[in-house]
């Protein structure tokens, strides 16, 4: 505790002031089972040389997409990131992409964020985007809160086909703010329209739908947006920036907010994170948008420059009345995506997206042709699909791993109703030979 400069006397005084008997009393809310009793079971200290050897051995036990052929997605995808992305974001000028306390002194950082925001607007078809959020899940929760603030309503409907992590984070946020979350079921892999209609009312602040959804299926965003607007609720579309290079922009289909995880563009899988979330909305809702926003303006000499804007509602100014408590963003990850998108261009992104779409379609068709797999859902899908098998996904995945392949996601843990359902992702990185080999090992020959 040597870095905490207060004295024993000062601590006693503080405890007396708040009426606590001891520092331990402050932790009395923790269940006894969660409190460490005794010392951590750690080995004796090692020499640097010994430690390096030990850590390298541990690292060598990891299975990753560099050494294996990956068919796992479920929210994080094995897309190609050109080396030059890392090269550019590692430049000294971006060493910390965090904005300093006088942000306008870092015009380069602000311009990079502004370009990122502009690209997000263009892909989502929205008018404004913020500088990024922590991840897709927190962007969903923030969008729900924004909808509640804007409609002054407290119920949000979320499709069960939205990523389970996104729904879990939404539930956590909502439970702390008195917001009620209701789940809308699915039918044939997409939101069940009948269930949605039965739950819509003038209490509903927002309808949250993901497309491509967690199963890879495409939702009918236009029809769903119309239903939401019928009760004056906002329509929140959760999407994927790479997919949006080939799919219609949700903004042109009636979305009021478009959010999602940005990993698929320019970010390595990083064992599941860090990535970043994107958040875009309409000009009408701009002042309720959480997070930081960079705007372009003219300085006093009439030259183009960049500033942080619309900050008046942020927590550091508005305190407890702030519409959101997010104070930061994932700038480096967002920067990587901006560099990636500008290098690839729309045509490069379309190429990667189309190849993912077509290769996934080929993979699904090939799996079904073996006779060992059945298609779970019929509609159109992007990059990812669900098949049923008589064999447990876990056992198929074990066989694939022994052949140097990472298999699909076992859906039954998140969707108990989908037993032996296997969520398989195929990106542009997979070759025909790899897909053929995957199919042949998966069928169990």
């Amino acid at each position: 505790m040597r870095y905490i400069p207060n004295t024993d006397d000062q601590r006693s005084e503080m405890l007396r002031t708040i009426g606590a008997g001891s520092v331990d009393d402050l932790f009395s809310d923790l269940p006894a089972s969660a409190v460490l009793d005794g010392k951590l079971d750690l080995p004796e200290p090692m020499s640097e040389m010994g430690l390096m050897k030990h850590l390298n051995e541990l690292a060598g036990r990891n299975v990753d997409a560099c050494s294996q052929t990956c068919f796992l997605g479920a929210g994080v995808y094995d897309h190609f990131v050109p080396l030059v992305v890392d090269h550019i974001i590692s430049r000294e000028e971006f060493t910390t992409s965090y904005t300093p306390y006088q942000p306008e002194i870092s015009q380069g950082t602000l311009q990079a964020i502004f370009e990122y925001q502009s690209m997000v607007c263009s892909l989502t078809g929205m008018e404004v985007a913020n500088a990024s959020m922590y991840d897709g899940a927190s962007s969903i929760a923030e969008a729900a809160f924004m909808a509640c603030a804007s409609t002054k309503r407290n119920v949000v409907l979320v499709a069960r086909s939205v990523h389970p992590h996104g729904r879990a984070v939404l539930e956590t946020y909502a439970s702390m703010r008195g917001v009620t979350v209701r789940e809308i079921g699915y039918s044939d892999g997409i939101l069940d329209m009948g269930d949605l209609k039965g739950n819509l009312s003038d209490e509903v602040a927002a309808v949250i739908v993901q497309s491509p959804n967690f199963f890879g299926s495409l939702e009918d965003l236009k029809a769903l947006a119309d239903e939401a607007h019928g009760v004056k609720a906002l329509f929140i579309a959760v999407s994927d920036l790479l997919a949006l290079s080939v799919l219609e922009a949700p903004g042109r289909l009636g979305a009021d907010v478009v959010v999602g995880d940005g990993q698929s563009v320019g970010n390595a899988m990083n064992f599941g994170g860090p990535h970043f979330g994107f958040f875009a909305t309409t000009q009408k809702l701009m002042r309720k948008m959480p997070g930081r926003i960079v705007g372009e303006t003219l300085d006093r000499n009439g030259k183009k420059c960049y500033v942080l804007t619309l900050q008046a509602r942020e927590q550091h100014i508005r305190r407890e009345k702030a519409s959101s408590n997010i104070c930061s963003n994932h700038s480096l990850n967002a920067l990587a995506s901006a560099v990636h998108m500008s290098l690839m261009g729309l045509s490069g992104m379309k190429e990667a997206a189309s190849q993912s779409l077509l290769k996934a379609a080929y993979g699904k068709e090939s799996l079904i042709e073996t006779g060992s797999f059945r298609s779970a859902f019929d509609g159109p899908f992007f990059r990812e699909f669900v098949v049923f098998s008589d064999e447990a996904p876990r056992s198929i995945n074990d066989r694939l791993l022994s052949e140097g392949m990472i298999g699909g996601y076992d859906l039954s843990s998140d969707y108990p109703e989908l037993e032996n359902a296997w969520l398989v992702a195929v990106t542009e990185k997979r070759t025909k030979d790899e897909i053929d080999r995957f199919v042949s090992v998966a069928r169990g020959e």
Binding site: R287, A312, R313, I317, R318, K321
Partner: protein, 128 residues
């Protein structure tokens, strides 16, 4: 010294109300606009919305921050000043000419609790 207009009623939160019959125009005082600085946005209430004395009426955003404006009296919003949507700076230019909302008052006796010109003047002087 901030301008204080005769004939209006004032709150401690620096709103004014100009009563005409059973209705009252509500705005913010010269003192308030001066303290806020350049006003960049007024998030207007909705016509038909109920307001209560001392409750939230709207949010006025300036370059310094977003500020709540409270209703001096209870009632229902009858009209809003839509000019402020495009020209929020009118509040800085003419705070007593730039009403925000017209409230249909539900309890005229509430107005007795508000300050008149003289009382508000000495209240503001006490703040300086």
């Amino acid at each position: 010294m901030a301008e204080i207009k005769a004939g209006l009623k004032y709150t401690k939160e620096h709103e004014w109300i100009k009563v005409e019959g059973e209705k009252g125009y509500v705005g913010i005082s010269d003192y308030a606009q001066n303290a806020m600085g350049d006003i960049v946005f007024v998030e207007l209430p909705e016509v038909g919305q109920d307001v209560s004395a001392g409750g939230d009426l709207c949010v006025v955003e300036s370059v310094k921050g977003a500020n709540d404006v409270y209703s001096p009296a209870s009632g229902k919003i009858a009209e809003i000043n839509e000019d402020l949507e495009d020209s929020p700076e009118k509040i800085n230019e003419d705070p007593y000419g730039s009403w925000i909302a017209l409230v249909e008052l539900s309890d005229l006796s509430e107005l007795d609790g508000l300050m008149d010109e003289e009382a508000y003047r000495s209240y503001c002087e006490g703040l300086e």
